[in-house]
Amino acid sequence: MSAILNKLAPESELADDRYGDIRRRAHQRLMQYGFPDLKTEAWKYTSLRVLEKRELSATGPSEAGQPATLPFEADVIPMANGLIDPDRLNLPAGVRLEPMAPADLINLDYGDRAGAMAWLNLARFEQAWRLVIDATLERPLVLAMTSSSDFAASVHPRLQIELAAGVEAVLIEQQADRGAGLINIVEDIALARGSKLRHVIQRRNADSIWVQRTRVTVSADADYRCHALDLGGRLVRQDLSVHLLEAGANGEIDGVAFIDSKQHVDWHTAIDHEVGHTNSRESFRIMADGTGVGVFNGRIHIQRGADDSHSDLNTANLLLSESARINIKPELEIYAEEVTASHGATIGQLEDSALFYLRTRGLPVDQAMALLKYGFAAAPLENAEPEALRDWLTAELETVL
């Protein structure tokens, strides 16, 4: 993958702003480790080779399409082509957005080549925002990430989202890409003691390469729940790691990915029980149609001494066409004794008998199939709250079925 390295602008062209030292360090690490290839375990099923072929400009167009309107009231932070314009924001009470301090970035470590895209982000981010939520939000906060159809740049947005103690919030990442660039996001979310976050990722991309690394830390008695609806894109790679740092922390992930022809979606989730008395649950489903490729890697890690931790992971997957592919790897890594950890995984297809049942009730084949697919895919979204959010997600799902 050295071709990608060669295409990168040299170190001397990195922005020499107040983050200059951080950028140079990250650039050097990236050059040292290189980009992952299929022999890199974490990238075994996803190739970044497509990056070699693309000519990406450094800056994108200034305007991006408007995000789709939501069927409920919400406060929106627009991120157009990877950039947030702070002058055009109307933030609700209790929410602050400010540039990140260099001190918060100086000691970051993304390991070897598996973390190359995060090093790339750290070397080249345009903006690094710290979003602080100090008070319980009455309306969902929406981060609307859009790109225009002429978008062909590489952007590296960086976000640090912090929930203060006891705060409850719904954060929706509404991602609609229409371009053919590279969007490489690094996002850190911290839940302070007793806080609750419902984190929604709703994604529907076009030709862009979308790489997102989300790291969530959950403190004592805090509750993190992710609801993901990924409707595919040319190449999507989502890393979502949830670290349960203190007793009482809870982490849950419910996700669905629907992948069609010429799309590749790779979800890598990790739930790390760093201490005992923590709970987690995950349910992830993939449907792959046409020539779509779906990848799911779900890891549960229970560290030494994290006794009385409980974790369960379930992944069910449907192959809907002859040319589709699904690769999954549910992992357990357990170092503590008094725990329960389990996973279940299946790959199959729609049941003929179920289809037959619906046909005998007078439904045409297409409709019967759509109904079965919907029934399969909507299950993980059932846990989404409030109801308006669930209705919106399931309606979005219906549009592709």
């Binding site: 030494r304 002859e322 999954i328 549910p330 357990l332 890594e333 996973h343 299946t346 790959i347």
Partner: protein, 481 residues
Amino acid sequence: MNQTTQQVEKVIQQRYKAGFFTDIESDQIRAGLDEEVIAMISAKKNEPVWMLEWRLKAFHHWQTMTGPNWAHLKIPGIDFQKIHYYAAPKQKNRPKSLDDVDPKLLETFDKLGVPLHERARLAGVAVDAVFDSVSVGTTFQKELKEAGVIFCSFSEAVQDHPELIREYLGSVVPYTDNYFAALNSAVFSDGSFVYIPKGTRCPMELSTYFRINARDTGQFERTLIIAEPGSHVSYLEGCTAPMRDENQLHAAVVELVALEKAQIKYSTVQNWYPGDENGKGGIYNFVTKRGDCRGDDSRISWTQVETGSAITWKYPSCILRGDRSAGEFYSVALTHNHQQADTGTKMIHLGKNTTSKVISKGISAGKSNNSYRGLVRMARRADNARNYTQCDSLLIGKTCGAHTFPYIESSNATAKIEHEATTSRIGDDQLFYCRARGLGEEDAVAMIVDGFCKEVFKELPMEFAVEAKALLEISLEGAVG
């Protein structure tokens, strides 16, 4: 619970019963690995030129490779130049019958409970006994010959059946396959060869017993089993080594070929010396085992009980090439003290209507790490293929680790894969239930662990099931509280 833990420790600390050393004069080739050593091994075995050429090709390929680092194992550097690649008990000529075998050797196998001796042969299992680098004797050869079955040491097969060896050697595990397979291909010294003719059901269980005895040696054996159409064979494998402070290397290759409607059942009880309680010594066990279901309706079944070795790196696999072929993998892997195991299976479904079943039970205790690593792959033309996998892990103590890394890949929309895994400890409620019925704590735990492994034990042939159960009891009786 404390009392139980103490009892456990007491039982677990029991001496490794096969850890004795047989003082017998041995004929060794100098330590080190180069073309000359390989040529010397080949010359000692009086091999034809093609065999030597194959070994050298493998050696040259091995030189271009690096050791695997992807497993969940901490593998200390191995100095391949310090190992003796050939060690054989000194004997003037190869004994023509067991009566000619050095009594010390017979005594060794007697002590290990291997039925080489005439009176023990009543057990009715044909045995090929491999001591360090060579086979010292094979029983029941006459009876097997009558049935048309060839069961002999690999060296004999190279001499007597070169056409079969040339056709099948490396056809399932080529020397380019992986680092340790390449090493084995270059230096393998002996092993077993089995050929079951068409339509023949092998009249008895076949068994090979591997014993490492000499110091600073490695054991590199190769097993090749060919089952012609419609044949059936059940093969057992056992292994032990003396207790030593330094580590010894065992890198074997096993190739199975099942043609149309043939069935091969391969069972292993692996009890290499695991090292002491501080992790000193023990065998590094890097084994490549693979079966090729070449014919339609063929079946290969792997059953393994892994209790020994300091490091186990082993993935017995099935390539389900023929339509309706079936692969099975049943495994109990136990690790204790500082043992590390990364073991599992690969089920590669290529043919239509192929089925596979994987049952893996991992038990970790002490400071050990026990990983299941498996691959199930449904290729594009594997219509209606089915797989069911179940991996359960039992943790005993707070300092061990149990891990599961299943790779599941499907490119066929009619294939079905099911996988489930659990990790837990023995529940207090289960123990309480048994105790309330009047069972002692040790018996209760033994019963629960036995139940945990039952699905695997029932797949073992009778002789091995008893041994496996006893082995597990020695290591684990009363282990959980």
